[in-house]
């Protein structure tokens, strides 16, 4: 009874998450004419969109992982100047506001971009190539981070043995690393696939027309321009169906990912180095420097222009900053709270043999939100609240809530591994000493705060950069920085837009730093 009472806040949090999701879907379906759905299935346009969505998502996730595996291995084994900075950059790049990153990509790969100016190379940026470049820019760093989490699970004893037995890098990869990362790969693949499959702003900006359209863009068009709820809900359900089928298939084929019971701290036991290993690492790092670094640098290019200072004096800019903060801060905290609720429930289940399968299911439940387009949840929620008597005044809270739940998969990715680790390490000790709920948090805070800070940082950045829900609900008085930027670009004020992108990016970096510094604490906490 005591246990259930201690668990009630977590149950409440997860319950609210499920209720809101279900309520918005039901509200949307109530406004739909299901009988018309058969007609949509006959449209060749729909199948073209589905084919392209699948194709670009498969290619994007495949390429991202193909590059990420050697990069993660290199970062695991090598210590070099700038490594920590690169890892920080990787943490940020996957949550860089899409619209800002797209601007960076245009500056580097566009018709008059850096690549053309320096090498005379023209990249067909609008179409599949541009979409792939943008998706790899966002997701390859994410894949590296996920794989490095897998590396963290390798017990130090294995590296010690590898060092003693004189393993080469290849032998270490084959006999040790691969065993762990192959378990992380399916999860990473599904996550990236879903992110790319439901990609919105990238496809809208770089798609280059209906030939390269995805389901998410089709949903946006149905909602924004046709206000066809029927079509939108049909497309949304189709997207959920495809993503679910894909996820189930991958997870069925994937090896079982068990937490290692003897998780030890990483010690610096080096394996045998060689010219081949150094060359492979050099190539891996080169791909990072080509694909990720230049768009980042390009974002900050306008800082030296005259227009930059003029843009800073604009009242509309600071109003947009205020709106962005007003959305991002509560959304991030709600997302973190939801993440904590999920992790508390998962830990509770880990502890009990008869519930041992549930932690993975709970995590999947949180990740399921990636399958559902944010636009659809927002519209459903709007209809649900309108039925309850709340009209447009609920827009702000809808934007906050949808941003919070859309960031949840990232929050869980950052939070769950550290939570599982604490549970595995201290479960018996807690049981024997009777340490429960809040006391556990107090004891573990120094060990989990880095993970909490990372989760909050991700949620902050994702909410700050949202260009999906705000595009639908943004109105006079609710114009966030990305929407303001989008409006500037739409009215061909590109130079001013690039300066706003710098402000948005700087805001992201400052908030991420503050979160890491003040919540994450000093990095030398002994585990």
């Amino acid at each position: 009874m005591n246990t259930l009472r201690g668990l009630s806040p977590a149950l409440f949090g997860v319950g609210v998450f499920l209720f809101m999701g279900a309520a918005s879907l039901v509200a949307l379906l109530r406004y739909s004419d299901v009988s018309a759905w058969w007609g949509y299935l006959q449209q060749p346009y729909l199948w073209r969109v589905v084919r392209f969505s699948l194709w670009q998502a498969l290619l994007s996730s495949g390429i991202s992982l193909l590059i990420a595996v050697p990069v993660a291995s290199c970062l695991m084994h090598r210590r070099f100047v700038g490594r920590a900075l690169l890892l920080q950059l990787f943490s940020v790049s996957m949550v860089v506001p899409t619209i800002v990153a797209i601007l960076g990509l245009v500056v580097v790969y566009g018709r008059t971009g850096w690549l053309h100016q320096v090498f005379g190379v023209n990249v067909p940026l609008y179409g599949l190539t541009g979409i792939l470049l943008a998706h790899v820019f966002f997701n390859m760093p994410l894949a590296v981070r996920l794989l490095l989490q897998g590396y963290d699970l390798i017990p130090a004893g294995q590296w010690r043995q590898a060092s003693q037995l004189g393993f080469s890098r290849w032998a270490a990869f084959r006999w040790i690393e691969w065993h762990y990362i192959k378990k992380a790969l399916p999860g990473a693949f599904v996550l990236i696939f879903m992110l790319c499959f439901s990609s919105f702003a990238v496809v809208l900006s770089l798609g280059g027309g209906p030939k390269s359209s995805t389901l998410e863009v089709a949903i946006y068009q149905a909602l924004r321009f046709e206000f066809d709820l029927d079509k939108a809900s049909f497309l949304a359900l189709l997207q959920v169906l495809i993503c679910t089928l894909f996820a189930v298939l991958v997870y069925r084929l994937a090896p079982v990912n068990r937490q290692d019971a003897s998780v030890l701290g990483q010690a610096n036991y080096s394996v045998r180095d060689s010219t081949g290993a150094r060359s492979a690492d050099g190539l891996a790092l080169l791909s990072v420097f080509v694909l990720v670094i230049p768009p980042f640098l390009a974002i900050f290019d306008p800082i030296f222009s005259k227009v930059f200072l003029q843009t800073l004096q604009s009242f509309a800019l600071w109003q947009a900053v205020w709106v962005s903060l007003k959305i991002a801060l509560p959304a991030a905290f709600v997302s973190l709270l939801l993440g904590v609720c999920f992790s508390v429930l998962a830990r509770f289940c880990m502890d009990r043999a008869y519930l041992s399968r549930l932690p993975a299911k709970i995590e999947h439940l949180g990740n399921m939100i990636l399958m559902v387009p944010g636009l659809v949840i927002a519209t459903g929620l709007f209809l649900f609240l309108r039925d309850l008597g709340w009209g447009l005044q609920s827009s702000y809270w809808i934007v906050v809530w949808v941003n919070a739940v859309m960031a949840l998969p990232f929050v869980l990715r950052a939070l769950m591994p550290v939570m599982y680790q604490q549970e595995t390490r201290f479960r018996n000790l807690y049981l024997s000493l009777g340490v429960r709920s809040w006391s556990r948090w107090c004891l573990e805070w120094s060990l989990v705060r880095a993970g909490v800070a990372q989760a909050l940082g991700y949620a902050l950045l994702l909410s700050l950069g949202d260009m999906g829900v705000i595009a639908l609900f943004g109105s006079q008085g609710l114009v966030s920085l990305p929407l303001y930027l989008f409006q500037l670009i739409g009215s061909y004020r590109l130079e001013e837009g690039a300066c706003v992108a710098v402000v948005l990016m700087s805001l992201c970096l400052v908030l991420f730093y503050l979160s890491s510094r003040f919540i994450g604490g000093a990095s030398h906490v002994k585990h």
Binding site: G157, Q158, R160, L165, G166, F167, S168, I176, H179
Partner: protein, 238 residues
Amino acid sequence: MLNIDLQYSWEQFHAHYQVDIEPGMTTLLGGSGEGKSTLLHLLGGFLAGRGVLSYQGESLLPLAPYERPISTLFQSDNLFPQLTVWQNVAIGLSRSLRLTSEQQDKVQWALEKTQLVDKTTRFPQALSGGQAQRVAIARALVRNKPILLLDEPFSALDPALREEMLYLVNEVTAELKLTTLIVSHLPQEASLVGGRVLLIEKGQVSAHEAVSVLSQSDVHPLFSHYLGVSDRSTKSPE
């Protein structure tokens, strides 16, 4: 002969080990935190020390762990859980696991020696603690390094099994003429394996004697404090 004159510092702990060790069994005795495992980690190359460490006249200090003529068995994490028993032993000979027929015979010999022939396809998770440590010993055997370091690898085993493992180590040490150093908390274990004992206190070798010193009726003055402590810690309250 293994010549040791090594210094090592970590925070408030300063160690300086000076001793020459001959082939055969040597047991490292000493209380907790006195620096026994530190010495083994320095010898194995897992910690960087200053000074002299040589074997048969060749300096070992500049060598990486895998280049040293040493095999080390730790308390835990000696095996790769993702490899079978056979693979765990074979990887001591070939990192690609592509073995010549001669190497395969060697693996077979080591598995027979450690009575693991019927467990070759099992994974470490399916082995008992004693069997897992025997796999680690089998790998040390195929590596054929003249120095064997054992950092309390049998401490988690029950007394009968521990005794069995010590006999096995003793047997291979004699047969292969190894220089074996074993860390132990129990003077009885040193008496069981014979050879010599090293007493480590505050990061220094305070005594290096034949094992018979432990069974003398008049306790050796250098060991009196340790044995007194040891007696208290091993006797049950009456």
